[in-house]
């Protein structure tokens, strides 16, 4: 009963063909094709910074020569056509042929382990760099000879301005020579790194300490290609460099930024909004090495580079694409004619049962009396609501929404004409002294209230599913996977596959809770306590009848200045927040301007919103401080 949605896609794909079917070309287009410095991305050192789940590793894997070749050799395949276009746009192809030979080198823990060796920094850095280079050369050659498309002796390396001594040190310019030398270096360094008792500095093997600089010598590679020959640019993609010790990263980066290096080099790292200093800590020290951004290196950010809307649309397309590719692979669906995934999670609004409707109506009537609203006033309000709903584009205009909207407006009315300001309410009031208005915010508030009052589904439909995923492909797959599991049950029972709104809500809420229960990372307990606490407060405020925050709150705001101070101090709370961000519990936006103040916005992730019944719409937040966060996370 394998459900491919429940598998953690990318890193897990054992088979290239499968990977190509599910990888999305969007990151290539979005972040590379349109980058202002596109022309330099294979010459200068590039720092690619992406949030977890942003697809940076997928990008690196896709760019590898092995896969590019596979794509180009089967151009009739639709998937491959799409991928080619994207690759060309990003500069990997030229005139339908490869222009770049890339290899991905994951910066696994063994590199970090080098920093524990009992030698001077410069020695440790050299060892790591030599190893990176050796692995790059070996990886390149493996990729170039993959599938027996060419032989080792058909590959030639081209050097520019390299002395004979340098060439000898890298094994010459033949592929065989380079390979043998790389193997020698790798073997020697691997044994040092893996050792329990590292050798004395003067007993290090020669192969590990002799100069070895293929990155400095090699400028291009000359290979046979479909009957002719091609000159392509080599590119080393170092993935997950944030796993290095910060000092180590600084030194390696500086070394790789040297002008003498001809090889293309990308360093991919995970974004950390909460300590821009940590990841970019090298920014200050980098300056001391005389490295300037944009001149000596280029940063590419894989997220937030575009407007939120555009980002959301892009993600939805990618997600729909991915889901449609996965769907036919679900065992239970194998012999069926499947509609696009979108149609299996329709956003047709739920309808309350008659009994619940009556309950709701009774409640509204009681509230009308509670709020001291005259029948005439109520009628006016109802007209306002009716007018809004008639003109709105939203598909959800059920009678219960109308009723709940009336309730919200009645409560606001009571608020505005009452002399007493109940002290529970904050100072922050979005609509002071203006006449009542029925709008989208009120409608959203109504739907949220309906979930609490009548158990009416709030989160359903493909767009909601995407929003709840916080633009994280993996998370999307998990949530979609749970929905698919429910569809399988429908299949078993001989029912139609498409899930009604209530079923979708049930599944999403349960899966979100399961994901949160499964959180197992440093400080997970504290993170859980914190988000649960914040969510409870958000919910409380959101459910107040007058819905001052419209659709409701799903975030807290802390003054940017206060947050800045916290991050510089050696505070456990900072660590908790970092891990919370890294593992998708919260999203952090710095310098969020609102009400003439600068906030650091801490938004609960989609999974938390699903679990606690909060809105997925962004913007509503509670004003708090760091003490509050500390208390909630205790």
């Amino acid at each position: 009963m394998a459900n491919p949605f429940l598998r953690r896609a990318t890193e897990y794909i054992r088979d290239d063909t499968t990977f190509l079917e599910i990888v999305s070309p969007a990151p290539l287009t979005t972040f590379l094709a349109e980058h202002p410095r596109k022309a330099d991305i294979f010459d200068l050192p590039i720092r690619v910074v992406g949030a977890p789940g942003s697809g940076k590793t997928m990008l690196a894997m896709l760019a590898e020569f092995r896969l590019v070749e596979m794509i180009l050799r089967d151009p009739t395949n639709d998937t491959n056509k799409q991928l080619s276009v994207a690759l060309a746009g990003a500069g990997f192809l030229d005139d339908g042929k490869p222009a770049v030979a890339a290899v991905r080198i994951p910066m696994e823990s063994e590199y970090r382990d080098f920093w524990e060796l009992p030698y001077e920094d410069s020695v440790k850095t050299k060892l790591a760099l030599w190893l990176v280079q050796a692995r790059t050369m070996l990886g390149l050659l493996r990729g170039l000879t993959n599938g027996d498309h060419r032989r080792l002796d058909e590959i030639r390396f081209i050097a520019r301005d390299a002395s004979e001594a340098q060439l000898e040190q890298i094994g010459g310019l033949t592929a065989a020579g380079i390979r043998d030398r790389a193997l020698e270096v790798q073997r020697a360094i691997y044994s040092i790194g893996a050792s329990l008792l590292p050798p004395d500095i003067d007993k290090l093997p020669k192969a590990a300490t002799d100069p070895y600089q293929p990155f400095e010598c090699i400028q291009e590679i000359d290979i046979p290609w479909m009957g002719g020959r091609l000159t392509i640019k080599p590119l080393a993609i170092l993935d997950d460099v944030h796993a290095l010790h910060p000092d180590q990263f600084e030194q390696i980066f500086t070394a790789l930024a040297r002008r003498e290096i001809k090889f293309g080099r990308w360093l991919m790292m995970r974004l950390d909004a909460l300590s821009p200093g940590a990841v970019f800590r090298s920014a200050r020290s980098v300056a001391t090495h005389n490295l300037k951004p944009d001149r000596d290196y280029v940063d590419i950010f894989m997220q937030g580079g575009e407007s939120r809307d555009k980002e959301r649309r892009r993600f939805r397309d990618m997600a729909a694409d991915m889901a449609d590719r996965y769907l036919p692979r679900v065992t239970a669906f194998r012999n069926r004619n499947l509609p696009p995934f979108r149609r299996l999670v329709p956003d047709e609004p739920p309808r309350l049962s008659e009994a619940k409707m009556r309950e709701l109506e009774a409640l509204i009537d009681r509230d009308q009396r509670r709020f001291d609203v005259t029948p005439a006033r109520r009628a006016t309000i109802e007209e306002l609501v009716a007018g809004y709903l008639a003109g709105t584009q939203s598909g959800d205009r059920e009678r219960e929404v109308s009723l709940a909207m009336v309730r919200v407006l009645m409560a606001r009315y009571a608020n505005r004409v009452s002399d007493q300001q109940v002290s529970l309410f904050e100072d922050f009031d979005p609509e002071p002294r203006t006449p009542l208005k029925a709008n989208a915010a009120v409608a959203e508030a109504a739907r949220l209230h309906l979930q609490a009052l009548s158990g009416r589904a709030l989160h359903y439909g493909f767009d909601a599913l995407c929003d709840a995923s916080n633009e994280n492909a993996e998370l999307f797959l998990q949530l979609a996977g749970a929905l698919v599991a429910r569809m399988e049950t429908q299949a078993i029972r001989g029912r139609v596959l498409a899930l009604p709104a209530n079923a979708q809500q049930d599944v999403l809420r349960a899966k979100a809770a399961e994901i949160m229960d499964g959180w197992a990372f440093p400080f997970a307990r504290h993170v859980r306590a914190m988000v649960d606490g914040i969510a409870a407060d958000c919910r409380e405020v959101s459910l107040l009848p007058h819905a001052r925050l419209g659709a409701g709150a799903n975030a807290v705001g802390v003054l940017e200045e206060e947050m800045g101070k916290l991050l510089l101090a050696n505070d456990e709370l900072a660590l908790i927040l970092k891990y919370a961000v890294a593992h998708g519990a919260i999203e952090v936006t710095r310098n969020y301007g609102q009400g003439s103040k600068d906030w650091c916005l801490i938004e609960l992730s989609g999974v938390v919103a699903l679990s606690h019944g909060l809105t997925l719409r962004r913007g509503g937040f509670l004003e708090r401080d760091t003490d509050y966060l500390r208390e909630k996370g205790a």
């Binding site: 009963m1 065992t331 239970a332 599991a485 429910r486 399988e488 049950t489 429908q490 299949a491 078993i492 029972r493 001989g494 079923a503 049930d506 599944v507 349960a510």
Partner: protein, 375 residues
């Protein structure tokens, strides 16, 4: 994934909540694939899921949840893969340490010193050569045991069944000398079987008489010795040999019963051929496995309600005797929730394995049907 079977179960269990159904389907498919589908009596097209549906159906609607929960939370299913582990562990974990202790005694050293002493190693090898391994039934899977230990013990030390004819004894007597001329007789005999729930099949005392496999073995040996010596040959087992009883799977109850009864036999049998007797097992099932009042009331109630006395009558017909008055909780009232992949023991509650026609009462449907000569 077995769509049809799952749909049946959903109907039978009346799962109106799709969330529940989805979760249960996952569990059912998982356990079927990992374990239960391997049950020896299942055939293609009718494995665990289908049989589970049919089994559940026999119960009244209000009883089905109890039955379902019982399978999900109480059942212990020992697959062949697990049993093979117990078979493979027998020699290195039970025999070797024992041989080492004996070798140490003979060499006059401590057991842990055996591998450091020439005398110790020689003694170890000698005692090993003079050990005979006999399977008490097919379940002993002696073939697997032998193959797992090829290189350590020879074919001539392994006998697959208890009924050993004179010819075979003579053959054993001849072959034992092949490794070392000094070996003329076996000093240790291991009787091996797969499972014991109460120890009753192996040894029991009733109406002033001893019965069971040990009794049979003892008698058989006496007869065999006479027959071989009558031919002027040496019987290949010494007098007062050390006898070792080993079951791959044993309940705590059986272990205690075997200890107690073999100790008595050791004292009381005037014609015993063995000089000492000890009891070991590969896996010990805890005493808490058995269904007990207070803890398993709901299931016990089902055992009562859906019981068909034909079962008991069938047992009496074939076994001629029983120390119980009904079979509601299985043979010897063991009340076990246990399945062995190659066949369900009749010590398990019949609810799991019994099949009756329903002529005189409820037609019992089995989940893991027991194949066997008597009930």
């Amino acid at each position: 994934m077995n769509l049809f079977g799952l749909r049946l179960i959903a109907q039978i269990m009346n799962w109106t909540d799709d969330g529940v159904a989805t979760a249960e389907y996952t569990w059912l498919s998982l356990m079927a694939a990992t374990k239960y589908d391997g049950y020896s009596d299942f055939r293609a097209g009718s494995r665990f899921t289908e049989n589970f549906a049919i089994w559940l159906k026999q119960f009244d609607a209000e009883d089905r949840q109890t039955a379902y929960d019982f399978i999900k939370r109480r059942l212990v299913y020992i697959s062949n893969a697990e049993l093979y582990r117990a078979i493979e562990a027998f020699y290195p974990e039970t025999v070797t340490p024992h041989l080492r202790r004996l070798a140490a005694q003979q060499a006059g050293i401590q057991p842990h010193e055996v591998w450091g002493s020439g005398d110790g190693v020689a003694a170890f090898k000698r005692i090993k050569r003079r050990s005979l391994f006999i399977g008490m039934s097919d379940g002993s899977r002696i073939d697997i045991m032998r193959r797992a230990n090829s290189g350590r013990i020879t074919q001539e030390q392994v006998v697959p069944m208890m009924n050993i004819g004179t010819e075979k004894w003579l053959d054993l007597a001849k072959k034992i000398k092949e490794a070392d001329a000094g070996d003329t007789q076996f000093e240790h005999v291991y009787l091996i079987d797969d499972f014991t729930a109460s120890g009753t099949t192996f040894i029991r005392f009733k109406d002033g008489k001893w019965n069971g496999k040990l009794q049979k073995f003892n008698d058989m040996l006496i007869g065999a010795r006479e027959a071989v010596e009558a031919q002027g040959k040496t019987f290949p087992i010494v007098e007062n040999y050390a006898l070792h009883i080993h079951h791959y799977v044993s309940t705590t109850q059986a272990h205690e019963a075997l200890l107690e009864r073999t100790e008595r036999a050791n004292r009381e049998w005037s014609d015993r051929t063995f000089g000492s007797i000890d009891v070991t097992q590969g896996t010990l099932l805890p005493a808490s496995l058995k269904l007990t009042a207070g803890r398993d009331d709901a299931v016990i109630a089902l055992c009562e309600k859906y019981y068909n006395h034909d079962l008991y009558l069938r047992l009496i017909e074939h076994a001629g005797e029983a120390e119980q008055s009904d079979l509601k909780m299985g043979y010897a009232d063991c009340a076990l929730p246990l399945i062995l992949e190659h066949n369900t023991p009749n010590n398990s509650i019949p609810l799991l394995w019994a099949e009756t026609t329903g002529e005189n009462g409820h037609a019992m449907q089995p989940l893991f049907r027991r194949r066997d000569r008597h009930g």
